[in-house]
Symmetry: C2
Subunit: 449 residues, 2 copies
């Protein structure tokens, strides 16, 4: 690079908006700003947006990574005032209004006039980061591909194994966390063992795989309400999934998990494949902003923002989505989208009126509904006053996802792949890369030493 302020700030005479994160919050903010007389820079750690609600389908072999991860540049290509920068934001200087970004191996300083921080959340292990090696989370394409390799790899190991107890371990899949992701993962692993892998093995029947869902609370997907929570439970039971509620996971290691009930009783499950879908923790940028501004940061790293989504003392800095602690808003895509649009509209309004100090309106979230799918043709939906389960819920889930997906161009193929996978028995995406096989062998050898 030639100097500290880089290409990213080329259009420096205009009001410069920097958006950190190309998730739902960031992309919807960029959309609001696309025709405004300002320059927008979207910064993300990867080259793709991630359609997180369908990530579990990548992890279970239904969709390819490209199907749920359109390139950010391509999504934004028609926004002529917008550019994309790939990199990690390492520091934010609220006084000088600059960010440091590690952009493909180089340090870069980026200036802003307005900042929208929409960096989302990562997996939380509640202080047990050592669990992550044995129970990867489900937050990125890398996570999903790793889990896909572990699931299909476990069936390979079971085929090789001759000791019945060890084979059982390879055929046991434990999902920690009973939110939408955990429920969807459990349902899909059960389905693939019953349908997709039919006749694929010679030394065991994949349908005998044991799928276990463990949650510390007393209900699955509690945000959906009691009735749908019960439907999710019975749906999973029908698929043969073993559900343990009121079970707090206290340990995860190579060979299994331990859990504890409120009455003190304990449970041990031997399983080679563990997936963590239990908790989230806001991006570490939350803490950085808290430290810089004196704003309160909660236990899960979320920042207590003003009702207008601005950072206390910094009307030019907005936080949206999973990073905020405000009115008990849930960590769902809708909150991020609406927050991103709210922040963008405020900035646009200030620029258009020429008044940078224009006070922002308070953010009001309109809950358009919750959706989760359990299996083929089975979903639960809670949209406005409507609460449905089963096939009608699934049709609704299909429709809503279709609507979102087709918002991006070229998503036709995704929908088609998806339809094929749901209607047929197919899991077209079962590739285990050689890198994954070798990585696993290396880990095993290290453990033996």
């Amino acid at each position: 690079m030639t100097g500290p302020t880089a290409a990213a700030n080329a259009g420096a005479t205009r009001h410069r908006v920097v958006i950190i994160g190309a998730g739902f919050g960031g992309l919807f903010a960029a959309r609001v700003l696309k025709n405004a007389p300002l320059s927008v820079t979207v910064i993300d750690r990867t080259n793709h947006h991630l359609f997180q609600p369908l990530l579990y389908q990548v992890a279970t072999g239904i969709l390819s990574e490209g199907d749920v991860a359109p390139p950010i540049r391509d999504v934004l290509r028609k926004y002529r005032n917008t550019e994309v920068l790939i990199g990690d934001v390492t520091t934010i200087d609220l006084e000088r209004r600059t960010l440091n970004v590690v952009n493909l191996g180089e340090d870069l300083e980026v200036e802003y006039d307005s900042l929208i921080v929409a960096a989302g959340a990562g997996q939380s292990y509640f202080g047990h980061s050592d669990f992550s090696r044995w129970a990867p989370g489900m937050k990125s394409i890398d996570d999903a591909l790793e889990i896909r390799g572990r699931i299909f790899g476990a069936f390979e190991m079971a085929e090789r194994e001759t000791d019945p107890a060890k084979r059982r371990e390879w055929l046991t899949f434990v999902i920690v966390g009973g939110g939408p992701t955990g429920v969807e993962m459990a349902g899909q692993i059960a389905e693939l063992s019953h349908r997709s892998l039919h006749r694929n093995f010679r030394h065991f029947d994949p349908a005998t795989a044991r799928v276990v869902l463990v949650d510390a609370g007393d209900a699955l997907i509690p945000a959906f309400g009691k009735r749908l929570s019960g439907k999710a439970l019975s749906g999973l039971h029908k698929l043969g999934v073993e559900v343990h509620l009121n079970s707090l996971v206290t340990n995860v290691d190579e060979n299994g998990i331990d859990a504890k009930a409120p009455d003190g009783s304990t449970m041990h499950i031997e399983a080679q494949t563990k997936i963590w879908a239990a908790g989230v923790e806001a991006s570490s940028l939350g803490k950085l902003l808290g430290d810089g501004s004196g704003a309160e940061v909660d236990r899960t790293g979320r920042v207590k923002v003003n009702p207008d989504l601005t950072l206390p003392g910094h009307p030019e800095v907005f936080l949206v989505g999973d990073m905020i602690n405000l009115n008990k808003l849930p960590g769902v895509a809708e909150v991020a989208m609406q927050g991103g649009m709210h922040a963008a509209r405020t900035i646009k309004h200030r620029v258009e009126t020429g008044n940078p100090n224009l006070p922002a309106k308070a953010f009001h979230y309109r809950n358009l509904g919750d959706l989760a799918t359990i299996s083929r043709f089975q979903a639960v939906a809670h949209i406005g006053p409507i609460k449905v389960a089963g096939f009608v819920g699934w049709l609704l889930w299909m429709f809503v996802h279709l609507t979102f997906l087709t918002g991006f161009k070229n998503r036709v193929a995704t929908v088609f792949n998806w339809f094929i996978a749901f209607v047929g028995r197919g899991r077209p995406q079962r590739t285990i890369t050689r890198q994954q096989v070798l990585a696993r062998s290396v880990l095993q050898q290290q453990d033996r030493q």
Copy 2:
């Protein structure tokens, strides 16, 4: 494992056929044997077959890895006498008729009565293995994903770069080797820079990317004959590809390549992205078999087999496909398929007649044709007496690939994805994983130290 002979040999009372490699040769052998009264074990290093003729489409973002890599188990699931073992064959004991396999991190001994070795070929750097770091080959899913990350990553780097000379380096793509893979790669990179990335960048026009194809010989795809070779050349020229024939690559490093003409003149091209499609080298099992049997092994690792495809002195061992040196047969899928079927028919006939010493017939290859695509709607085909280029060639190419692909179940989605990508401007598969970005940063840091 419980002992040296494992699950793989469970049906030990039957004649045991072991097939090494689930490429075209191995799968077609298994198909011939599916209803025969014997037990078949297919051993492969990965969990998938690889439809290698379309691998370049994975490397350029058109197809996902699952589209060209169906799981071996799934392809063979209905062959009840057949099982699949994932692992690397490390030794072959021709006297004891056993193999050693490293199967998912464990050593395993497998016994055979008949052996079909169809392990294919890898990339050859003609003794310059240090080139491979800077110019990866195109032989596996891992290769294709690595190249995909490098191609799309190079455009990212160009967007970041402010020095025009360095940006030029990032926007220069050199493909070494003018066979079908090299021609197809060059055509596709030119297409993606002109069409698919349109409007995606703000600091350069992707259509200005320079795509260079370098080959030591005096014609592209020489096996197709002079006329089609010329058509391929003019097709690439139309796409803006720069073709250098009679140019032997003498060096590849981080920043470019050097080449030398027969008249001694030299050429240097500065390019960050280099792809090696220049030569192949038979699996190292060829040398192993040569050492064990005294059979002649040529410079590229291919074994001089008997006319019936058996290893000299070992009528129970067959070699097929890219591993053999026989009658100047080319290294194409058709040769492997027909060889696999020939070997399997011989074994089946011996078992059915109860005469293990039945001499095998000589193998005769029927050339059904050669096909290569240059760009959308442009291909060259050489089928029997027919030699066509352009749109008719492309239709033929499409038809032949469709026929092969639909031989596997669930390939409908592939064809659909493919159609969408060809007709539209789409490159749905542009994901760069975070692992790839980090790996690149680490390499850069190491280089600086």
